[in-house]
Symmetry: C3
Subunit: 344 residues, 3 copies
Amino acid sequence: MFLKQSWYAAWWADDLPADGLSPRTIADEPILFWRDDQGMPQAILDRCPHRYAPLSMGQRVPGGVRCGYHGIAFDGAGRCLQNPHGPIVSALSVRAFPVVEKYKILWIWMGDADRADPAAIPDLAFADRAPDTAYSRGFLPTAAGHQLIEDNILDLTHADYLHATTLGGGSVTRARPNIREHEDGTVFIEWPASNEVALPFFRAEMPDPDMLTDMWTSVLWHPCGVMTLRFGATPAGRPREEGIDTWSAHIVTPETARSSHYFYFNTREFRVDDAEYNALFAAGLRHAFTTEDKPMIEAQQRRLGDADLFDRSPVLLASDAASTRARRVYARLLAAEQDAATAS
Amino acid sequence: MFLKQSWYAAWWADDLPADGLSPRTIADEPILFWRDDQGMPQAILDRCPHRYAPLSMGQRVPGGVRCGYHGIAFDGAGRCLQNPHGPIVSALSVRAFPVVEKYKILWIWMGDADRADPAAIPDLAFADRAPDTAYSRGFLPTAAGHQLIEDNILDLTHADYLHATTLGGGSVTRARPNIREHEDGTVFIEWPASNEVALPFFRAEMPDPDMLTDMWTSVLWHPCGVMTLRFGATPAGRPREEGIDTWSAHIVTPETARSSHYFYFNTREFRVDDAEYNALFAAGLRHAFTTEDKPMIEAQQRRLGDADLFDRSPVLLASDAASTRARRVYARLLAAEQDAATAS
Amino acid sequence: MFLKQSWYAAWWADDLPADGLSPRTIADEPILFWRDDQGMPQAILDRCPHRYAPLSMGQRVPGGVRCGYHGIAFDGAGRCLQNPHGPIVSALSVRAFPVVEKYKILWIWMGDADRADPAAIPDLAFADRAPDTAYSRGFLPTAAGHQLIEDNILDLTHADYLHATTLGGGSVTRARPNIREHEDGTVFIEWPASNEVALPFFRAEMPDPDMLTDMWTSVLWHPCGVMTLRFGATPAGRPREEGIDTWSAHIVTPETARSSHYFYFNTREFRVDDAEYNALFAAGLRHAFTTEDKPMIEAQQRRLGDADLFDRSPVLLASDAASTRARRVYARLLAAEQDAATAS
């Protein structure tokens, strides 16, 4: 079960072509995405109500898509455009989903259409501010439930062990984190560090790689699976402006109970015009996420099978405080949605 | 669940070799087929009653087959021929199934042996009448339940969309079909067409490819999954004899709830001696069935999972009338069989 | 369900390297094996109690292993050596399993540690007595439950059919076996043969390959899946010492309900220094077990699905007497264990 009244990242906007039909399962629903004649993204259930043929095996037609099996056509609102076999009855429609393009991402709303407010998409404006040479990204189809991936980010102490030679160094584990839960359901955690040697990735950017620095590391989690991360370092005692700063987002969209669409992007506020450095930075992150995080999280899921980790009595540590909060928020929102669905 | 008191097509007769052991699952039962010393086909359960070893891993011996594990031998009636480990007790037997060769097909009867009447096999005599140069066929292992495949044939409007450039042209969709349900459980549907340009496949056979024609298209469905199809065209207003005519059979044998053995063959009553044309015609049909029907039907099945389409509230159209009738007949026969089994 | 208060063969001892982490599932439990700094084998549950990460994805550290995800370290007793995230609480431990090295095999005890007595490992001292040139072995991951594999050995009449040209010859089937069940839960069966031509494998070792011989063939089964086999032949009427003799062990460790770790080794008491003959002998056995037994047993399991053979009403023969006894012993021990677990 997943939150339904929620925006989910579905595609990098420029991965949805002007032509063609792009199927992707979101929160257990098979969805067909395409761009209409004006280039506007559309999303409807990828299943003809007539005989359950995937509409993605059909064709684009003016104003919509036509099922490849018996020729019934639908528009982006899910209304039947054409029924070669008789009248267009009201049952001959397919569920449509609100979609918007924002922050270079195509978002889909899986709940009641009249509640879909693009303003509810978490603020990722830094994606638009960064020049191409200070922006990189990746997409990881991951064979694990969304919460294991979110747990991974909400406890960045893992970097000290799983990414010891790139993103870790022990400073996150040594930090005393601050955690705040906000009224909007977001959970914030930061791991302040003072007088630490910078992370391996950051050392070359310091006046002296081995000097002591102050570092900031934080995650802001949103219930829809969007997490914004900030990493930076400055020489010990100096203002942040004299150091280096990065903003990232990790975005986890449930595909099924045991698989997820994992998007991430990174922006830098230093060396912003250095395309070569940008490529190196991107390769380093890709290596860490693809060869270190993804295999570990997928192995966790295999060990758990279909069970939820928190039903298996894990030994929780202080470092699990943020993920535990986030799971509690998620459970509360899910229960509220289900109560509302039952009441209505 | 499948009809048991029924003949099912199991093999092209000449695909069952004179020697060797040929296993195939029919209606969820693993069956071992072979030809005896006189060349007569035999079929018994492919499972030694001793330790469940597949008998198909054994050897042909005079008069039967010997289990490869502990040497117990059985004949085609399922009687034990030899037990190296002791007396031949009555329990040491294996279920045998009636088989007959007819219309170039090996048929198996999955019900009570004393009710197996070869006269109940649907009439496919056109298979024997056609010379080799006017006969072609194919076998498609299909990952879908038998009813989805039968539905596909019982609603040939799909040809106008799925096979638009070969077998379709819109005339089936435009036709006003006649449907008849017969006392023997068969369902007949025809889609008469007048003053239509011939199907793409037929155009070159008309005096002028773009001329108007009268066409006949019909399906006779039998509950055992045998469907006979007739397609033909003649210049508008002229008798059928002046046109071209074809007879086909599509035969669907359940393997499991979600997989089927799909046999089809086609015979022509024009250009009957033209081997080259026969090969082209066969290749065209193979292309349509393999790259258009099969992927679509298998995708339907994946969308349905283990659910039956008719339990998922599909929106039914006028064009579903014949398949809905056939499903109703099948459900009635199945219920009757089960009542009889309970009563006895 | 498997016997828990039991030693199981887990590895050939020299397949467990001095360095590195070796995971293997035993009786449904994922286990991590390694050698400590003194070379002593260790075994703990391969699952960090914190977040279910496989510890086998971590690293060896002095005194134990460290989880690769968040750096928590454990020793071979399952005690936490280091928790970078806080105090070492008692819950932060992982189950450890007794292991011993004996007869060139690493054995693991899956039950209560205080009941683990190495003296309970069946006597396989012949493994240590044989020189390398009279010893060979193999390991077969087999997709079948352990009882089907044990049944196979407890009814060696199968050799007369499944291995007709190598290990069979009809003499086992013709024998009148003696069966004894012992108080310690072991089951013994022997198939004495007199005045028989030797097995194909043994013929060349007789003064005349076609001469009559006396042969001995026996199996001693232990409930933990260890079976010791003795095969030999001597010229008819002559003492055993004038003939040839072999000792083997077949050892079946459950991995899951439908898969097993199958170890076997063979020792000879003739041509003991003949390395070339040893290699030929090993290749012959490997061929028989890999291409004849394993496919047959795996096919049985596929025919059975998740069902137990004895719940499917097989027709049992005289030759099933020993396997039936062994299954009865196993069921009794299993029930006793479960009663004890319920009572405590």
